[in-house]
């Protein structure tokens, strides 16, 4: 089966094939024979050409947070047979307009930018109070604030869209 895996804004085509108890996995044109053990849910022990890796996976729909020997990676995985290819266009769209979503419940303390403002990557845009701390939501890239969807003092849920930047 073939998948597209997005990591750090790069996309890899990955083919997985099971073979007599082992896995043949192609990443682009590189072929790996992978000895797989999964003694616990969310955990794999992989041996690839004699090299042993501990891999922990936290899945959420198509998203997978992955720890390889404790190093953190964020991936998105799409099944080629089920989903259309992630076209270059779609990627550009993702890069073009971005919705900033709250990752956890909290309260909006203050809003530091308004629609129409040009902001630099890293500029603080909204301050959220969560887990007893004030946290600044920063612009993920240079761009223009298209929309601010929350107001100061508002209680927000995880997953709620805070603003749109383009």
């Amino acid at each position: 089966m073939a998948y597209e895996v997005k990591i750090d804004d790069q996309i890899y085509r990955v083919e997985v094939e099971e073979d007599a108890g082992a896995y043949q996995i192609k990443v682009g044109d590189r072929v790996y024979w992978v000895d797989v053990a999964q003694p616990q849910p969310y955990f794999y022990s992989l041996i690839i050409n004699g090299h042993s890796y501990e891999v922990d996976i936290s899945p959420q729909n198509d998203q997978r947070d992955i720890l390889v020997e404790g190093k953190a990676f964020h991936t998105e995985v799409y099944d080629e047979t089920r989903k259309p290819l992630l076209s270059k266009k779609k990627l550009e769209f993702l890069e073009g307009e971005q919705k900033i979503v709250s990752s956890m419940p909290g309260k909006v303390i203050s809003i530091l930018a308004q629609p129409g403002h040009q902001v630099k990557k890293g500029t603080g845009v909204i301050v959220i109070q969560a887990m007893k701390m004030e946290n600044e939501i920063k612009a993920p890239k240079d761009g223009e604030i298209k929309e601010i969807r929350v107001t100061e003092g508002k209680t927000i849920e995880a997953g709620e869209v805070l603003l749109v930047i383009a």
């Binding site: 990591i7 007599a20 922990d56 404790g70 990752s103 887990m131």
Partner: protein
């Protein structure tokens, strides 16, 4: 010593105190909010009672409910941990009035040190050097402006009732005064219920070094050496060590004696910490006194061999200190890393959630002080500090290498944590050389190192697809495909592949 002791806290510190109580054989009782039914301290205590709804104000800060429960259940001692009621003199007083032993310092010492302005005044009187600035709260922006002109920029605004890095703002230019004043006041009000603010000269790139002291009710006071707490993030400590690379034997003696003088000025007993800022000329200034057990107390325990919680219990019960100053011997070096449920790749944003799996580090010289377990859902209501790892080594180098090894073993899957960030620090040459300031995290650490993991990225890509594949297969068959089963294969290149794999297994 005690009939029954209540631990009026949660998380890792409640667990740590429960452990000490179990070791000395005192029956344990704890409280929990409705959000904490599944918390580790509830499981570990012998008795546990729900004290109210999730917000701390309605549960962990409910003095009357807590005292009434304690009386009802035959509790004769309460350990407050840190945070919550630990530095609340009203609570300490209420315990005393209810005939319950507050396992901490006297209420008047808490109160005196709780006001940053008052404590600065008292320390000046006791001959303890303090950072230049006001000893009275400021009234308005104009006053701050005048003070800044005298002291010179940068200055720092601090909540009078503050502590632990909360309620403070650095001001580098006059233009920042207005918004900083407002923000600090509002944070002070919401965090401490008191919006009063004072001003200090901001020492640039100072070291943040603190001294652990211990006293009994008979006026015996000793110090247990220093802790280096310079590495901070948002003015909160992240990594602490003992000893400090900066402090030699003579400086340790001087700082220790100064800390004891500070404690004696407020009639202190129990465990406490005197925090100093140290400038580049190794001058040290009193910053504040923490009248409680510190988060970072384990590094002192590991170099001295002294169990601070047990000493607190003894002192509270009216015993003499077990140790005299000359009994305190330092061995090797210890380092603590605080593990926060925060995303280091996203501006350290807090990440509560459910821990899918957890592997804690072990082996020689590693101490695991955790407050969580696999299957635990980190509540959104409290501090994102979920555990601490402490390592000991014969010297700083061994302690650091051991920490790097321990962090590699430490896997918390399901919530994001700062473990990858901490790993980066342990490998950073500035940190290894001891070349650190409070700005270290922002200035020195090469953030890219968090994701620059070479071949591991390829493994992550491969594993993501593998997991997707196996998840699909298992959805179809409701069980994982057998991976050790033997299956005939007829495709010749597949046979070759399998043979290659077997070859690599020898």
């Amino acid at each position: 010593m005690f009939r029954k002791v209540m631990v009026a806290n949660r998380g890792e510190i409640a667990v740590r105190i429960l452990r000490a109580l179990k070791e000395v054989g005192i029956p344990t009782l704890t409280i929990y909010s409705e959000a904490d039914r599944n918390s580790l301290h509830v499981r570990m205590a012998e008795e546990a009672y729900c004290i109210g709804p999730p917000p701390a104000e309605e549960s962990y800060l409910q003095i009357k409910k807590i005292i009434s429960l304690a009386k009802d259940k035959g509790v004769d001692g309460i350990h407050p941990g840190y945070g919550f009621l630990a530095e609340n003199p009203v609570f300490a007083q209420a315990c005393q009035e209810a005939g319950i032993n507050f396992i901490g310092p006297p209420a008047y010492a808490i109160e005196a040190m709780g006001s940053k302005t008052r404590s600065r005044e008292m320390m000046q009187d006791a001959g303890v050097p303090v950072v230049p600035g006001t000893t009275k709260p400021v009234r308005d922006e104009a006053e701050i402006f005048r003070l800044a002109s005298d002291l010179g920029y940068p200055i720092v605004l601090k909540a009078v009732a503050g502590g632990g890095g909360k309620g403070m703002r650095v001001i580098k230019r006059a233009a920042e005064i207005k918004s900083a004043f407002r923000a600090t006041q509002s944070e002070a009000q919401s965090a401490f219920g008191d919006s009063a603010i004072y001003v200090e000269k901001y020492l640039e790139n100072p070291r943040h070094i603190e001294v652990q002291i211990l006293g009994d009710k008979f006026g015996n006071l000793i110090h247990l050496g220093e802790r280096e707490c310079t590495i901070q993030r948002r003015h909160q400590k992240v990594i602490e060590e003992s000893p400090s690379v900066l402090v030699d034997e003579e400086m340790r003696r001087q700082m220790g004696e100064t800390a004891i003088r500070a404690a004696r000025a407020v009639g202190y007993f129990s465990a406490g910490t005197v925090e100093f800022l140290v400038d580049k000329h190794k001058n040290f200034y009193f910053l504040e006194m923490n009248t409680r057990l510190q988060v970072e107390h384990p590094v002192t325990e590991m170099v001295t061999g002294i169990d601070l919680v047990k000493e607190m219990l003894k002192v509270a019960a009216g015993h003499n200190l077990t140790y005299r100053q000359e009994d305190i011997k330092f061995r090797g070096a210890a380092i603590e890393c605080r593990v926060y449920a925060e995303d280091p790749l996203n501006n350290f944003f807090p990440c509560p959630g459910k821990i899918l799996s957890l592997r804690t580090p072990g082996g020689p010289g590693v101490r695991d002080d955790t407050g969580v377990y696999p299957g635990f859902e980190i509540p959104i209501y409290y501090d994102p500090l979920i555990s601490k790892v402490i390592t000991w080594g014969r010297d700083r180098e061994e302690a650091i290498h051991r920490m790097a090894r321990a962090l590699q073993e430490y896997v918390i899957n399901g919530v994001k944590t700062i473990i990858p960030f901490l790993q980066g620090v342990m490998e950073d040459k500035h940190f290894l050389q001891g070349d650190i300031t409070t700005e270290y995290i922002d200035q020195k650490l090469h953030r890219g190192s968090l994701v620059d993991a070479g071949y591991f990225k390829e493994v992550a890509v491969l594993a993501a697809a593998l997991d997707a594949y196996r998840t699909e297969i298992s959805r179809g068959t409701n069980s994982f495909p057998k991976i050790n089963g033997l299956k005939m294969v007829d495709n010749p290149w597949k046979m070759t592949g399998r043979r290659m794999l077997l070859d690599s297994r020898l």
